[in-house]
């Protein structure tokens, strides 16, 4: 049994907790959050040891094997450091950290510790991403020429069903580390790297329509080092979108064909959810394991990434998303911020 602790019980941390309960041989034994309401909810999911502070949890919990970090960006480095010191394997939400320097520190700490670290690059775990990667590797698209990756949503301003304020740290550039480029662009850049390898920035634009000190619009043109594949990244926080509407697509343009994510996503998410839901009910009735969150199509990726992480711990394999992946992605993000700072002073705050 892998014994896990969760630091941070916001919506994402809570989702990880619920997902862990569906993974064989994994038990969440501790959780930490400043919110009493969140801790009470965690208790209702069977978590026995609850803490206000993540550091106290990591220091005082015995027999822990791993920790899931779902804390604000600026806490990633100290949390990871503490967890690795305690000899734990770490699953952390993206971004790995806010700066290249912090990411380098983490990479070094992971190497020294010999522990596993995986970052929640959940977009790689979408069913369509996996299929696109398979097709690309099979050669059915020919040579890849251009990758288009775009996601325009509300980001931290997405209105939940029950209204609750946007966490204050999002409005603090030093804590958030950046805006939509670091939040959503990070995922799109990682997807580019997933399909086309490491890249450099050819062009970038950062927009500040909301007058915040962090960008809410980003358009980036990438070029892969090894293959010259171009990447068009377009991300924004300005669209009022309510799930299941999801303005997100990836297109792989090859010289023998193309693949577009929107052709692979179920056309009608409601009928898809109904079909998958019925299958899960049948599975449950006959005593088989259900496919958690599959009915939502997109949220399933959060289950799959955790399942992969715990599989890696069990089989002593390296996670498919490493600390180096986080570092390489942040290098691109940071180069955009630096370029923007030089051009118009709209870069990342120092």
């Amino acid at each position: 049994m892998i014994k896990v602790a969760i630091a941070g019980l916001g919506r994402q941390g809570m989702l990880h907790l619920m997902n862990c309960n569906h993974i064989d041989d994994v038990q969440v034994v501790a959780a930490a959050d400043l919110s009493r309401k969140a801790r009470t909810k965690a208790k209702s999911f069977g978590v026995e040891n609850l803490y206000e502070e993540y550091d106290k949890m990591i220091r005082s919990s015995r027999d822990l094997d791993a920790v899931i970090l779902s804390v604000p960006n600026f806490l990633h480095l100290p949390c990871i450091e503490l967890a690795l010191e305690a000899g734990l394997d770490v699953f952390t939400e993206k971004p790995l950290a806010n700066t290249v320097r912090e990411c380098q520190q983490i990479v070094s700490l992971v190497r020294k510790s010999g522990r596993k670290l995986m970052i929640g690059h959940n977009c790689r775990f979408y069913e369509f991403s996996e299929k696109m990667k398979r097709e690309l590797d099979n050669g059915s698209l020919g040579n890849l020429e251009v990758v288009t990756a775009e996601e325009v949503i509300n980001g931290p301003f997405a209105h939940p069903y029950v209204p609750s304020p946007v966490s204050e740290w999002w409005f603090d550039p030093k804590k958030a580390g950046g805006g939509v480029l670091l939040d959503i662009g990070y995922h799109m850049i990682d997807l580019f790297r997933f399909f086309a390898g490491d890249a450099k920035v050819l062009y970038s634009f950062l927009g500040h329509r909301f007058g915040l000190p962090i960008e809410d619009t980003a358009i980036v043109l990438l070029q892969s080092h090894s293959t010259n594949v171009k990447g068009i990244i377009n991300v924004g926080w300005y669209e009022r979108t309510i799930f299941p509407r999801f303005n997100f697509r990836v297109i792989l343009h090859g010289n023998a064909g193309y693949l577009a994510s929107h052709d692979l996503v179920p056309k009608n998410l409601y009928s898809y959810a109904a079909k998958v839901g019925i299958k899960n009910v049948v599975r449950r009735v006959i005593g088989r394991k259900i496919a958690p969150l599959k009915y939502t199509y997109f949220y399933e990726s959060y289950y799959k990434e955790l399942e992969h992480f715990f599989n890696c711990i069990e089989t002593d394999a390296e996670p498919s998303v490493s600390a180096e992946d986080g570092l390489k992605t942040i290098e691109i993000v940071e180069s955009v911020y630096q370029a923007s700072e030089k051009v118009n002073g709209n870069g990342k705050p120092s």
Partner: protein, 310 residues
């Protein structure tokens, strides 16, 4: 019981240079005039969330700017004007002002921005449908010479329409207004018993039905009830079936008899408005969540916290 009041409808060009003229026309049509000396004015837009005016969710700062220009023209350059909004369950005024362009507007027009949740709050108890409801009411709105309500024209799943009277609900100082939602209609009527704007100018530049629509419409009246009555017709609901309007009639804060419209006809705007069946809207949401909860119980599957009700 007060009789209904005239409601003006003016088709306007959302161009900055022409908006002030449209505001003047809308107010001229209803014969707006105040005999008392006006030294202070508070404009209350609807900034319920961090969504820009083009989404149909929030009041356009261009319109608020035009109203400021009109008021200065009418009452003098020395008129002390504040633009006010209160924190809401999910929205914080300190962020929404800069994000939606109100910081820039305040600087350009030399007006003050006021967070009503940080104002002196007076506890008021009112009875609606035999139920006592307590509100924290910003003192500034009670003391001001001219209180201008500038709501948005839109529909809402819970109350069918959300416009003049609902925007007054947004004045309540307590941020967690979601607490009133079990008795939302009564609370809307209750707060309108306490806070009575002198003037309501509706931002119908972009309306919000099942999707946003450019209506290029301004509406004005001195009576919130009359405005909402006409708005219900525009968005395709029978006003007599809008629960909070029915309660308002019962509580004698509004009377549909005598409501008249002037300026443009209602019909062309009604035809353009992308209405939504309240039943299907409410039904779809409610049934969706009931099915989801039932599915969770039977299958043991996960509902993402983002979609959960509690």
């Amino acid at each position: 019981m007060a009789m209904g009041n005239p409601v003006s409808l003016v088709r306007c060009n959302p161009d900055k240079s022409e908006l002030t003229g449209s505001v003047a026309k809308a107010l001229e049509l209803i014969g707006f005039n105040t005999k008392k000396k006006v030294n202070t004015a508070i404009i209350k837009p609807n900034l319920n969330y961090y969504w820009e005016a083009a989404t149909g969710c929030t009041t356009d700062p261009l319109l608020v700017g035009a109203i400021i220009d009109y008021l200065r023209e009418k009452f003098g350059r020395d008129l002390n004007i504040k633009v006010a909004e209160a924190d809401a369950s999910a929205m914080r005024t300190k962020h929404v002002f800069p994000m939606l362009g109100y910081d820039k507007l305040a600087e350009e027009k030399q007006v003050e921005l006021l967070n009503l949740s940080e104002d002196v709050l007076r506890k008021e108890k009112v009875s609606v449908s035999g139920r006592n409801i307590e509100f924290e009411v910003p003192q500034s709105l009670l003391d001001v010479d001219l209180f201008v309500n500038v709501p948005k024209l839109k529909i809402m799943r819970v109350t069918k329409i959300t416009c003049a009277m609902k925007n007054i609900f947004g004045c309540i100082g307590k941020p967690r207004k979601f607490a009133y939602h079990p008795i939302l209609e009564e609370a809307i009527v209750g707060i309108n018993k306490v806070l009575k704007p002198h003037l309501t100018i509706v931002d119908g530049l972009v309306g919000l039905g099942r999707s946003p629509v450019k209506l290029d419409l301004l509406m004005a009246s001195v009576d919130v009830f009359s405005i909402d009555w006409v708005v219900a017709r525009i968005v395709g609901y029978n006003p007599r079936r809008v629960k909070f309007l029915k309660i308002a009639m019962r509580e004698k804060i509004g009377n549909p008899n005598g409501i008249s419209t002037c300026g443009e006809d209602v019909e062309p705007f009604k035809r353009r408005f992308p209405g939504e069946s309240f039943l299907s809207q409410k039904f779809v949401w409610d049934v969706q969540f009931k099915i989801l909860r039932l599915y969770k119980r039977i299958s043991g599957d996960v509902i993402p916290p983002f979609l959960e009700e509690e």
